[in-house]
């Protein structure tokens, strides 16, 4: 499962969602395909799911909103174990993932 453009890609394969590039889309409407991919993966996923943002270079506030909606959705279902991976040396990734963990305390953070 993949969404790919010149600016970014979101790919699901082997229990991992990998986000790459710059997400600068306009409003929830433009982010809907990405949120749909996240939610449809979570719906079918049985094994722990990993969210890898190490190669995500930029995320605007509408993008933050998309990820937080997904996290709240997963938290409400109380079934899926979620792991998030970012780089510990990239301050915005650390802050972003810690904010997600505040929304969902069971989220496992891996800061490399």
């Amino acid at each position: 499962m993949e969404i790919k453009t010149d600016e970014y890609s979101v790919t699901y394969d082997s229990d991992i969602i990998v986000c790459k590039g710059s997400l600068l889309l306009n409003s929830s409407a433009e982010y809907a395909p990405i949120l749909n991919l996240f939610n449809s993966v979570a719906e079918k996923q049985i094994q722990p799911l990993t969210l890898d943002v190490r190669n995500l270079e930029f995320l605007n506030s509408s993008g933050i909103n998309t990820f937080t909606k997904f996290i709240v959705n997963v938290r409400k279902k109380q079934v899926l174990q979620l792991i998030a991976i970012g780089y510990g040396e990239i301050p915005w990734q650390v802050r972003f993932l810690k904010n997600l963990q505040r929304l969902m305390p069971s989220l496992v953070l891996k800061l490399e």
């Binding site: 929830s28 930029f58 506030s61 933050i64 909103n65 937080t68 909606k69 709240v72 301050p91 915005w92």
Partner: protein, 191 residues
């Protein structure tokens, strides 16, 4: 001319080391093209400012320090996105973004016309974030958006305050002659 100030608004530029202003005219482009110029302008500003940070000590305790290139790009991009969203689409004036660099702070100003229909709701939101606890509002907003975000996420300004320790202020300039209302948003970041 009537002026209304909200929050921490600073206009004085005395003592600034460096100054840059960019003007964008959204009516010249499609919405999609205009949106793309936000990221390009924010990228340019971030690269430009970065040259002044090389070798400088990092004194701020902000969760995301302004010295990281991502920080300046994020702030500039959010300000431009908001300006595009709230700009009066009948306005023929430029959306202007400027930054002033001081020894101890970086200040952005973004000026554009706003449709008077949006002003009441905007002022209500500004009063809420000025008088409330930004951290609580930020996370409450995330929770609320998971149920319904039809009116926009509202996370941009709150993320600047919570994740970048930014101080924000707003100036509304209301003409007596039925002209559009001009809004200037100010963001101040400690270096």
């Amino acid at each position: 001319m009537e002026t209304q100030i909200f929050g921490h608004f600073v206009e004085d530029s005395s003592g600034s080391m460096e100054y840059l202003k960019i003007g964008l005219l959204p009516s010249c482009l499609s919405i999609k093209e205009s949106w793309q110029t936000n990221g390009l302008s924010a990228d340019f500003i971030a690269n430009y400012v970065q040259t002044f940070f090389i070798g400088q000590p990092q004194n701020t305790d902000a969760p995301i320090p302004i010295q990281s290139k991502h920080a300046v790009k994020y702030i500039a991009n959010e300000l431009l996105e908001n300006a595009m969203k709230f700009n009066d689409n009948k306005s023929q004036h430029f959306i202007e973004i400027s930054f002033k660099l001081y020894n101890d702070k970086l200040i952005f100003h973004v000026t554009h016309d706003v449709n008077s229909k949006n002003v009441v709701k905007l002022k209500e939101f500004l009063k809420e974030i000025i008088n409330g606890d930004p951290q609580d509002l930020y996370f409450n907003r995330m929770e609320a958006n998971a149920i319904n975000d039809d009116k926009g996420s509202g996370l941009g300004l709150l993320s600047m305050m919570c994740d970048y320790s930014a101080k924000l202020g707003w100036k509304f300039e209301i003409s007596k002659y039925n002209a559009p209302i001009t809004l200037t948003t100010m963001v101040c970041l400690n270096i």
